[in-house]
Point group: D2
Chain length 326, copies 4
C-alpha cells in the first residue's frame, strides 16, 4: 500500500486551508463572477484588488482577486494554530532547504512564504483580522450561497512525493486512487480540519492549481447556480457536473472563472477527525471513482489548470490515464 | 409559424394521459427496476403481469408490465371525461378511417383501441377502478418517490403531421422546436391536463415510444435515485442527466429499464390551463433548448426508442439534426 | 354525506382563480413585503397602485396593491375560458338576482363585478394582457421564488351554502371537514384548475378573506423565506408553520402582510383533473387534519381575516370549534 | 463576560463525543423507533442489547440500547486521541478526586468511567472496533438518513461551573446565553471536533441528559421524518420543530423515543476549528435565540430530560426563566 502512516504529532500544527490569491486580467469581470454570480462577499476593495469571504467565515478573506497581466495563482494560504507553530513551520521549511520569506500581508499578522518540494507557493500565518458574523444575515445570501472555502486541488507531477511531503507535516490521507499496474498513487485527498480534504493532488503536468472549492448547504444551491449561470451569460463557464463523486461522496459542480481558474462547488462530504480513520482506496480504472453515477469527466478537466506564478512545470512521472469523456 | 391555432372545443374531451403497457422479457428483473428501485406500487400481480400506480394516483394502473418474447410498447392509454366522450372519440376515429376495436381491459370500463395516422396504438376509456389514497402513507414511499405519470414522448417521422392530428383532438402546443431552414417542426410538446405536456413528439425514425415520464416532488429525489441506482447495479441504466431542460424548464433524468424502455424522471414544469397560453418557440440550433446548462444529449437519446407492437416504422421526412454529444 | 355531486357541465367555464386587489395603508411598506421579501415581480406601478405577477405567470397581474385608508380586500378575480363564457356568467349571476356591473379594469378585457350569495365580491374576465415569460430569467428570482397564485381561502358563515353555490358553477370539492355532530360542513376545498383548490371555505364570521396562497418550488424555498423574514424585521409577521397540512398534503407557511392580510406559501398538493375524483373527508376533531405533524394552529389563524370592501359580516351558523393552540 | 478563555493546550486530547448507552423499557419498541423510523443501522444485537451506528460512522456504535426496568441514560462516551491521552485523562480525573474505574466495554479498547463534578457519568476510550464504510450503500438509507452522532446536551444545575470544568479539558465555547441581570450563564455550547458543539449545557434541574443529536444531510430529510412519524403512529413523539435555532443556526427537530429520551435531528451548523473563533453571545430574553423564526419552545422542552443512572439531581442555582410557549 502506497499510503504512509499518518503523522499524528506533526512538527507544527496547521489548522486548515485559508485563502488563495488569484491574478485575474479583468477585475470587473471577475467581480461579476465571484460576487454577483457565486455570491461571495466583498470585505475590502481597491482599484486593483478585491478581498472576499464566504458567508460563515469570520476571517477577512478566502479569495483575493488581483488584477494583472497574466492569469496565475499565487500562494496557497494556510492558517496555523499559534505564533509558536508559525515559527516551527518556518524552521521546518528552512531545514528542508525550502525558501522562507517573511512578507507583509494586509489583514494578516506575521506571514511567511515558502514553496513545497515541487515548487507550489505556500504562505502560512496564525492570525487574520476577524470580522463580525454574517451567517445569519440572510438578506446577503446570493448565488450559490457559499458558506466557506473547503479545499485546494493541485496537479502534481509526482503524487507519491506530494503525499509523502504533506503527510510529514500532518495532512492525513482520507481517500486515494492507485494505479494497479505500477502500485503508484494517481490521486490523493488529505485533510487537516476534519473533512475529506484541505488539499488534494491529481497526477498531471505540474505543479498547477487544479481548483479551489467552496462548501454550500445543499445540492439545490448548486442547481440554483446552474440555472443562474445558464441564463446570465455564463453557460460556457460550466465545465463538469452536477454529479456525485465516488471519491469523497461529494455532490459537485466545476465551473471556470473568466480567466479559466477552476472553482468547485461542493457539498456533503463526511467527518474525518478520528486519528484511526482508514483511508479508502479506489482503482484508477473504476469509472465510479470520478462520478458515482458513471459519467466521465471531460478532457479539459484532466488537462487544464492554473499556473502558479513563477513556477516551472514538468510532465508527470506516471503515465497512467483515467477514463476521459469522448 | 408552423403551430396551428389550438382547438378549444375539440370533438371529444380527453382528460389526461393515463397508462401504458410495456412488454418486458424478464418480469422479475423489471419488478426490481420499477418497484424496488423507482418505487412504484404494485396494485395487482399475476404470474405474467404486474399493474403499478404512483403514490398520488387513485386509478388502478399507470404502468402495466407484461412478460413477453419481445420488448415492445403497447397502447398509449388516455382517459376521457365521460362515456359520452368515449363514444364521440370512437366516432371521430372511425370517421378518419382509423381502426376502432372495443376491447376488454381489466379494471377499466368500456375501452377501445385505435391508432393515430402514423400507427401509434392508442386506447381510450372513461372510468378505471379507483383505489384508496396512499399519498399520505409515507412508509410506502421508496426510490424516487414517483407521484404520478406525467407524459409520453414519441418519435414521429413527421412532427408537423403529428401535431396537426393531435391538435385537432384538443392537445394544445406549449413549446416547440422549429428547424429554421425548412420552417418545419422538429419537436413539439402538447397537453390536455394543464401541465407542459401529456404527449410530445420528436423528429425521428418512427413512430416509436421515446419515453414515459414520472413526476416527483423535488430534484433531491432524482439525486437520491441516482445514488441508489449507482450503487445497486443499475449504473449503466443511467442514460442522461440530471439536468434542466430549456424546453419545459423541467429538471430531468433519463434512465433505461432492463429492456431499454426509457423512463424520464421529472419535476418543476409550469401551469398551462389558460386557453390563450402562448406557445414558446425554440430554435433547433439552440443548445440550451435540450439542456439549459449546455450539456448535449448522448447519441442513444436521439436514436433509440421502444417499438410499438405491430407497428411499422419509417425514416423521418425531416433530415435536420440537433447537437449530439461527441 | 354533505358534499353535492360535482357539476361536470357547469353553466359557464371558469378556468382558474386569477387575482385579487388588496387595499393597503402604506404602499412602500407593502412593496417591501411583496416585492423585496416575497419576490413578486412588479409589472406596473403608479403612485398609489402596484401590479404584481409571480415568476411563471404570463398574465399581467395576480396581486394589485392599492393604497387606501382602510386595509380591505376587494374582488376575487377569476378568468373564464372565453368571451362567450363571460356572457354566460353574467347571465347566470343576473338570473340569481346577484348584482352584475361591467367595469373598466386596466390590462383586462371586458370585466364584470358581482357578489356571491354571502356578499363576497367577485370579478370575471376572459382575457388579460399577456407578458413575456420570465420563468427562465433566474436572475430575477428573489425571496420565496413565488411561481404562481394558487388559491383563495374565505371565512364563510355557512360553508354548506358556499359549497352548494360554487359547486353549481363548477367548482369541484377535493377535500372537506365535517362536523360529526351536526353532519354539517366545517370547511371545504374546491377547484377548477386541476389542483387541490382554487377556492376554499372555512367556517367563521364572514364572509372574509382568510388568505391568498402562492405556489413555490420546494419546502426549502419556504425555509429560505423564514430565515429572511426572521432577520429583516418581519419575524412577527410569521403566523403559523412551517408544517404539512393533513388536508391537501401541502407543505405550508402562513405569514401576514403589513396590514395583516394573510398570505400562504405553499407547495406539494396533487393533481385533481379526474372528473371521478373522490373527495376526501376529514373529521373536525382530527388534529392531523390541520397539521399532519400534530401542532395546532394559533387562535389568530381561526379568528382573523381581511374584510371585503363594503361587505357586512355575520356570525357563522355552525358553532363547532376545532382544536386551537393554547 | 462569563466565558473563560479557551484552553488551547488541554491536559489530554478529546477527539469528539462518541456514544451513549440508553436504558429502555421495551427493546422491540425502541428498535422500531431507532432502526425502522430514524434509520440507524444495527451493528450487533443480543436479546437485551442493540448497538447502532449512523450512515457515515465507521466506529462500531454511537447508541447502545439496553433493556432495563427504568429508562435512564448511562455514560456519555468520548473518544480520545491516543492511549497516552487516555492515561493522561484518567490521571486528570483522579487528580480532581473524581472516580476512575476501568471497565470492560465490548468493541472498545481500554475504557474508564468517571463523573464530572456534578455527577454526569462519562466514559473515555481511544480505540473502538472499526467497521467497513456504508455511506455509499444507498440502499441502506432509511428514515431521516442519520449520518453521525453530533452532540449531547445536558441540564446543568450550574452552567458556569459546567463550562469552567469542560473548558479546562479543552472544550471551547462557540455560543452562549447570558442572564443579563445576574451576569451568569444560562446555556453554553462547547466543542472539540470543529462544529458548533460536542457538548452543551442548559440551566435546569440536573444533571440530566436533555438530548442526543444526529446530523442529517438537509432539512428535507427532517421533513421526510416528520411525514413518516406522523403517519406511522409516532405523531405524539414529535415535541418541537421543525425550526431554525438562533443559536448555532441549525435547522432542528426534537422528538422523543418510546421512553421519552429526547433525540434531536439537526443540520447546517458551521465550522469552528479556528482557535481564535469568537464565541457568540445571546441574551436570555431574545426570543430568536431559541428559534430564529420566533416560535417559543414548549414547556416540556425546558423541564423534561433523562436521568443519569445512579445520579442525584438538584435544583439549578440560577432562577432565570426563558420564554415558554403558553
Ligand atoms: Ca447539507
Ligand atoms: Fe475538489
Ligand atoms: Fe419528457
Ligand atoms: Fe390555503
Ligand atoms: Fe442540540
Amino acid at each position: 500500500m502506497p499510503i504512509p502512516a499518518p503523522v499524528l504529532y506533526p512538527p507544527f500544527n496547521i489548522v486548515r486551508l485559508s485563502h488563495v490569491e488569484l491574478v485575474v486580467t479583468d477585475l470587473a469581470k471577475s467581480r461579476a463572477f465571484y460576487v454577483d454570480t457565486l455570491g461571495l462577499q466583498v470585505t475590502d476593495e481597491t482599484p486593483d484588488t478585491i478581498w472576499l469571504r464566504a458567508m460563515e467565515e469570520r476571517g477577512h478573506h478566502c479569495i483575493v482577486l488581483r488584477e494583472g497581466e497574466t492569469a496565475v495563482a499565487r500562494d496557497l494560504g494556510f492558517k496555523v494554530f499559534s505564533e509558536e507553530d508559525l515559527d516551527k513551520a518556518a524552521h521546518f521549511f528552512k531545514s528542508r532547504d525550502l525558501p522562507v520569506e517573511w512578507v507583509e500581508r494586509p489583514w494578516q499578522s506575521r506571514t511567511f512564504r515558502t514553496r513545497d518540494p515541487h515548487g507550489i507557493p505556500l504562505e502560512f500565518y496564525a492570525r487574520m483580522d476577524r470580522l463580525p458574523p454574517i451567517h445569519q444575515k440572510y438578506e446577503l445570501y446570493r448565488g450559490v450561497k457559499p458558506l466557506r472555502i473547503d479545499h485546494f486541488n493541485c496537479f502534481s507531477p509526482n503524487v507519491d512525493e506530494s503525499v509523502a511531503f504533506y503527510n510529514e507535516i500532518g495532512f492525513r490521507v482520507t481517500e486515494y486512487t492507485e494505479d494497479e499496474e505500477t502500485g503508484r498513487l494517481w490521486a490523493a485527498w488529505t485533510h487537516r480540519k476534519g473533512g475529506v480534504h484541505d488539499l488534494a493532488f491529481t497526477n498531471g503536468r505540474g505543479p498547477r492549481l487544479h481548483h479551489t472549492a467552496f462548501w454550500v448547504p445543499t445540492p439545490l444551491n448548486i442547481i440554483d447556480l446552474l440555472d443562474l449561470m445558464a441564463t446570465t451569460g455564463w453557460v460556457s463557464n460550466i465545465e463538469r457536473g452536477p454529479g456525485r463523486h465516488g471519491i469523497s461522496n461529494a455532490f459537485f459542480l466545476y465551473i471556470r472563472d473568466p480567466d479559466n481558474h477552476r472553482i468547485e462547488i461542493y457539498c456533503s462530504d463526511y467527518q474525518t477527525v478520528d486519528p484511526d480513520l482508514e483511508p479508502i482506496k479506489w482503482d484508477l480504472k473504476d469509472p465510479q471513482r470520478q462520478t458515482l453515477w458513471g459519467a466521465p469527466a471531460p478532457r479539459s478537466w484532466f488537462e487544464e489548470g492554473s499556473l502558479f506564478e513563477g513556477t516551472d512545470i514538468v510532465e508527470p512521472s506516471l503515465a497512467a490515464q483515467p477514463i476521459v469523456a469522448p
